[in-house]
Symmetry: C2
Subunit: 198 residues, 2 copies
């Protein structure tokens, strides 16, 4: 395809499989890498090999770390009786960047989907129910995406846990810095319904 | 930043330095890589290490290969008395994909730029003049980008080679499949000026 030597072509093909990169941008990225062999390509190859060798999923929550238990599950400080349920690790990182949640997490690894035949067993939901009992959890906070699949999953989990602990979910409304004129009708409806005293 | 373990954070930082990827898309790419450790991340790390170890610039034309002479310069079939001058290796690959040029290449590695203090010596232009004499070249085809810097460089090279061989450049005009309504004035002007008998 690209008329490059075959090992470079193989590298381009692999790079093009990353999200956000297509054949053309993978080619540009590989050319940049080759131009910066010493300062970028060598360190990147080594960092990638290192992570490939050590990264694994936390056996308890599904977060990514280099041990059987991730740092958050290993920290006693995070055992405050709250579990925040997220779809994937990127969402967990987003919550941690906000720096406002002091409990532990549970990464589902996706959402329920009848179309794709993804049921509760595929999503660490039984493990969540087990954790709620074993860890003496008071509150499960559902931080799932505000999509149809995300909300379906939230309802399912809320039903499963209803008699075991309190179940809450992130508030829906106007984002900070958001302008009403640019918001969709659904968000404005949700924000109005959930209005609160000033 | 991303609250990931530090080795994963380092990998994200390196990935974010690739063209086309920012911090957020680098994070997504690394998460995808970790999810596909065996099938994508390991092969990618190895392919990258392999290319980093072997890739080098052709001593004659500046193309990228794994030997002192690239495949094109090493092939006697490509010695047809024509050299195609391109800005960078991506342009060389684009020419090769078209599959219509049978000669050899010369990769400048950029364009002349007074602002960035890039002169002829920084661009393999002396090496091009030497090749024209030594290889008995009849025609140099300038396939430089149709930008101000590209055209400035083309004029400079044409002056340098004027008494040594024929110098031509790619035709400018309406691209195949192009619609007039969507073309800029400059392209239409160039196409009209260079009109030809039907």
């Amino acid at each position: 395809m690209s008329q490059a030597p075959s090992d470079i072509d193989d590298l381009i093909d692999l790079m093009a499989r990353l999200p956000g990169l297509g054949p053309r941008s993978a080619r540009r990225a590989v050319l940049r890498l080759i131009q910066k062999r010493g300062k970028l390509m060598q360190p990147l190859a080594q960092a990638m090999q290192g992570v490939a060798d050590t990264a694994r999923e936390c056996l308890q929550c599904g977060n990514i770390g280099s041990d059987d238990l991730c740092k958050i599950c290993a920290s006693e400080k995070r055992a405050n009786g709250e579990i925040c349920v997220v779809e994937d690790v990127a969402d967990l990182w987003a919550m941690e960047r906000a720096g406002v949640f002091g409990g532990r997490y549970h990464v589902l690894g996706g959402t329920l989907s009848a179309l794709d035949a993804i049921g509760p067993e595929d999503l660490r939901i039984p493990a969540l129910v087990r954790r709620v009992t074993e860890e003496g959890i008071n509150e499960v906070i559902l931080a799932l995406n505000a999509t149809v699949d995300g909300q379906t999953t939230a309802h399912y989990i809320a039903d499963e846990l209803a008699e075991r602990c309190a179940v809450t979910s992130l508030a829906q409304g106007v984002p900070i810095g958001g302008e009403l004129d640019y918001l969709d009708d659904g968000t404005i409806t949700a924000a109005l319904k959930a209005r609160k005293g000033f």
